[in-house]
Symmetry: D2
Subunit: 130 residues, 4 copies
């Protein structure tokens, strides 16, 4: 499982289908990149195991995003992510998007996850490695 406060890096290549005719990445797509970054931080195999063996899954409960600069076709974005628990039931992920050679963040986001079981009932966030 993930470690709190550790910064995870994930690279996202921007393809044609990430952009729209305004020339930059369509705003909703950053939520996908954030999720891909979280999946790599936690590990897709671990997410599959959690679901298959324990019946547990993460669900997005709240989102905040702010946009300073648009990414363009050909960018290899660095998604920098870390997480902090908020009480037993909430896991806050902080995401930053850095363009190649960028001197400030292009996009920032906070995504709050909760954990549910097979009956879609809220359960505590699973334990982290100490």
């Amino acid at each position: 499982m993930v470690e709190e406060n550790k910064i995870y890096h994930h690279t996202v290549n921007i393809y044609y289908d990430d952009t729209d005719f305004s020339g930059v990445v369509y705003h909703a797509n950053y939520l996908k990149y954030f999720e891909h970054a979280r999946e790599h931080a936690i590990g897709q195999a671990e997410l599959v195991r959690m679901w298959d063996e324990e019946g547990l899954g993460f669900v997005v409960y709240k989102v905040e995003m702010q946009f300073a600069e648009g990414a363009v076709f050909g960018d290899a974005l660095d998604i920098r992510s870390y997480c902090v628990k908020e009480g037993p039931f909430r896991l806050n992920w902080f995401h930053e998007v850095w363009r190649p050679g960028g001197t400030k963040t292009a996009v920032t986001g906070v995504v709050q996850l909760v954990c549910i079981n097979r009956e879609r009932r809220l359960v505590p966030i699973p334990d982290f490695k100490p």
Copy 2:
């Protein structure tokens, strides 16, 4: 259920996220529009009922598409679709994309569907209304 050889019309509005930075609709999206057109022809409620009550679902087996002209932001596309059974197991859908005021088809496609049950085994295409 659908009628063979009947032409079904479905309108698709082109939004920002349908386009890419080249200015026209991203090519893969037409497969979505074709599927939306089929879902409206068959009826989403009927698709849900087929799955819930009979455990039957359609799966795409083959696709062919040809592109003559790109649709742009703001277009209200007319998707014209009809279907023909090919033997008991295959259902061929023929799709055309017409742009507003267009004098020829912008995109054409043929999508071959098969029908599977809950065990993902091939079953005959369900009967059509006579």
Copy 3:
């Protein structure tokens, strides 16, 4: 152009590609539905005209979303939207997602837009009809 505080309704049909394997609509997609709702409120022809004649376009600057319930395949969602200016440069859109027969909002969002010109410089939000 849009009227402040007026509630605009926009219907979104949920197709296969809107969902993910968890069975409900993928969270990022609601940002698309919100944008489609805004495009219909403003009018796509007006958006094209603003860009072509005046070189003006809207850009998403900030987003907040909260998720209470997931929409599923076959839902016809009612997206209820209204907007309020915040000073001369910001336009806040408030969006609610209502599922068919729903007794409370499934998803809520606030999207703050700014307006830019061809040089990507901030300009005041264009005047509304009185």
Copy 4:
């Protein structure tokens, strides 16, 4: 530029948003993976340079796909691609999707590209390295 007949490998991780509620990857998404594979074979920097310096871009003209098996969440797909010119104006890409540990191709596709200039006129496919 790419070499004819050389097999290029590209890895695609399957995330939540790639799947739909049937549990497997939504069929249209394979066209995206094929394009991402081509972009990496040609090089995104080369595609940007071609467009900026020479005003040349590739456009999809025809597509054929066949589906044998669905990919699932957590798969790391191997997309195997090679290209062959067909006369001076057409470039055919042959794509195969291999699932981890797969013994046969899950999806196959042929995508025919043409090359256009800034006036959207057809031009010969640019020369390959000998």
